[in-house]
C-alpha cells in the first residue's frame, strides 16, 4: 500500500512524507508528519523555536543521518521513491535536494571554485563546461553582475548577503530539483534579505523550494504553502494566503498573532 501511495502521487508532488516520527535519543522530535511538497512552489515551515521545523527539513535530504542517536520511522517519497529505502544512494539524493543553511558557509577558496566544487566532484572536468555551469549558477542566484570581475578572489571577501547567494549558486551548480533553506536570511541585513527573497521567487520557476523561517512576514511574502509546527507536530498545512488570513487551528491563530511563541 505504501508503494502504491508513492506510485500514485500527484504529478505536482515532489516530496511526500508519510507518518514521519523522529527521535533524538529518547526525545520525540517529530510526530506523525504527513505532508506534500508541490513542484515549482515555495513551501514555508514556521513555528516557535524547537518545534521541529529544522529537523523536518533535514529529513528531506537525510541530513539527520549524521546525527548520533537520531532514529526515524516513516517514509519520505521523492519523485515516488522512498529515500529511506536501503538501496538509496544518499549522495545522489543530496545532489537532487540541495540545502542552504542559516549562516552563509562558503568554502575558503575562490568564488569560482566554490561554485565549481560540486560539479567537479560529480566528475565534470572540462574547463569550458565548468565555466558555463559557474556562470549559469551565478546568474541564476543573481550574483553574476557583482562577482564576474573577481571570480578568482576569495569567497570570504564577499558580504554576508553575497556569500549566501554564492551558497545558493553552489547548490544550483549540481542541478538540484529541490532547494531546502534553513532560515537563509536570519543572519542578513534587510537589503540582503530582500535580494534573497526576490531570488527565491525567481528560483521557483525552475526549482521547488522549502524554507524554514522564523519570520512570519517573510513566509507570507514568498511562500505558496505554509506549514505551522508546534512541539514536533504539523498543526496546520495549507495555502499561505489561507494560513495567514484565516488559519483553521486556534494554535496557528495564536502563534501568528503573537499570542504565544
Amino acid at each position: 500500500m505504501d508503494m502504491n501511495m508513492g506510485a500514485n502521487m500527484n504529478n505536482q508532488t515532489v516530496i511526500r512524507t508519510q507518518d514521519i516520527n523522529l527521535w533524538y535519543g529518547t526525545t520525540h522530535a517529530l510526530t506523525d508528519i504527513t505532508m506534500e511538497i508541490q513542484k515549482n512552489k515555495v513551501t514555508a515551515l514556521i513555528g516557535p523555536s524547537g518545534c521541529g521545523k529544522s529537523t523536518l527539513i533535514r529529513v528531506f535530504d537525510r541530513m539527520n543521518d549524521i546525527i548520533n542517536g537520531c532514529r526515524i520511522e516513516g517514509k519520505v517519497f521523492f519523485n515516488g521513491k522512498n529515500i529511506y529505502d536501503p538501496d538509496i544512494d544518499v549522495i545522489e539524493i543530496r545532489k537532487k535536494i540541495g540545502m542552504i543553511f542559516q549562516k552563509p558557509n562558503p568554502f575558503p577558496m575562490s568564488v569560482y571554485d566554490n561554485v565549481a566544487y560540486g560539479p567537479r566532484i560529480h566528475n565534470v572536468t572540462k574547463r569550458a563546461h565548468l565555466e558555463e555551469i559557474v556562470k549559469k549558477s551565478l546568474k541564476l542566484s543573481a550574483l553574476w553582475n557583482e562577482v564576474e570581475d573577481r571570480l578568482g578572489q576569495s569567497a570570504l571577501g564577499l558580504s554576508g548577503g553575497q556569500q549566501q547567494r554564492l551558497c545558493i549558486a553552489r547548490a544550483l551548480a549540481v542541478e538540484p530539483e529541490v532547494i531546502l533553506m534553513d532560515e537563509p536570511t536570519s543572519a542578513l541585513d534587510p537589503i540582503a534579505t530582500a535580494k534573497i527573497e526576490d531570488l527565491i521567487t525567481d528560483l521557483k520557476k525552475q526549482y521547488t523550494v522549502v524554507i524554514v523561517t522564523h519570520n512570519m512576514q517573510q513566509a507570507a511574502r514568498i511562500s505558496d504553502y505554509t506549514g505551522f509546527m508546534y512541539l514536533g507536530k504539523l498543526i496546520e498545512f495549507g495555502k499561505t494566503v489561507q494560513v495567514f488570513e484565516r488559519p483553521e487551528q486556534e494554535l496557528t491563530e495564536n502563534y501568528i498573532t503573537g499570542r504565544f511563541g
Binding site: 512570519m216 484565516r246 503573537g258
Partner: protein, 216 residues
C-alpha cells in the same frame, strides 16, 4: 512588543465604538429634530460634524501607523481591515445625520404635509441596524447581524413607499415640491445608512470568521 500591539488594538476598537455611537446619535437625533421641528437640536448635530471627521482621521492615522510597525496577521489583520472600512462607513452615516439636520430649518417654515410616520419608523430600523452592528463589533456575536438582509429589505420598501407618497403630493400640488423633494432625499439618506450598516456587518463577519459574505 506584540502585547503592546494588542493593547493598542483594544484602544482602537474603543475609539471605533465611540465614533460609531456618535454616528448613530447624529442620525437618530436628526430625525428627532425633524419630527419635533427643533432647530436647536439640528444645530447641535451639525456642530458634531468636525468631531466625527477628527475621529475618522485619527483612527485612520493610528491604523496606518500600526500596520507597518507590527505587521498584523490572521484575526489581528482582519480586525485592522474591518476598522479601516468601518470608519469610512461610520463617517458617511454621521454626515447623513448632518445632512438631515441641515434641512430642518427649511422644513419648519411650512406646516408638515403629513405626519412623517414612515421616516421616523425607517430611522428606527436603520438606527437598530447601526446599533446592532456596533454591538456585534464589540462582542463578536454574529447573531446580532444575522437578519440584516430582511431589515435592509424593509428599509428599501419604506423608501419606495415614501417616494411614491411624495410623488402623489407633488402631482396634487406643485407647492409641495420643495418639502417632498426634501423627504425623498431624507428617505434616500436613511436607505444609504442601512446599506452602510450592511457593509459594516459584512466586515464584522469577515473579522470574526475570515469569510467574505454579501448582505443586502
Amino acid at each position: 512588543m506584540v502585547e503592546r500591539f494588542h493593547v493598542k488594538l483594544d484602544d482602537m476598537k474603543e475609539e471605533v465604538l465611540k465614533m460609531g455611537f456618535l454616528a448613530e446619535e447624529m442620525l437618530e437625533k436628526s430625525v428627532i429634530a425633524l419630527k419635533d421641528q427643533d432647530p436647536e437640536l439640528a444645530e447641535e448635530i451639525i456642530s458634531k460634524k468636525e468631531k466625527i471627521a477628527a475621529l475618522d482621521f485619527n483612527i485612520e492615522k493610528d491604523v496606518l501607523r500600526l500596520v507597518p510597525l507590527y505587521q498584523p496577521m490572521a484575526k489581528d489583520m482582519r480586525t485592522i481591515a474591518c476598522i479601516l472600512k468601518m470608519i469610512t462607513y461610520l463617517t458617511r452615516i454621521g454626515r447623513y445625520g448632518k445632512d438631515i439636520a441641515k434641512v430642518v430649518p427649511e422644513l419648519i417654515q411650512e406646516a408638515p404635509l403629513c405626519k412623517l410616520v414612515n421616516i421616523p419608523y425607517m430611522a428606527e430600523i436603520v438606527g437598530s441596524m447601526i446599533h446592532d452592528a456596533l454591538k456585534a463589533f464589540e462582542t463578536e456575536d454574529l447573531t446580532l447581524i444575522a437578519d440584516f438582509d430582511e431589515r435592509d429589505d424593509k428599509v428599501d420598501a419604506l423608501r419606495y413607499s415614501i417616494f411614491r407618497e411624495c410623488i402623489s403630493y407633488m402631482t396634487e400640488n406643485p407647492r409641495n415640491i420643495t418639502q417632498c423633494a426634501h423627504y425623498i432625499m431624507i428617505a434616500r439618506y436613511l436607505e444609504r445608512c442601512a446599506d452602510h450598516a450592511c457593509k459594516i456587518a459584512e466586515k464584522i463577519h469577515y473579522m470574526v470568521t475570515g469569510e467574505h459574505i454579501e448582505i443586502g
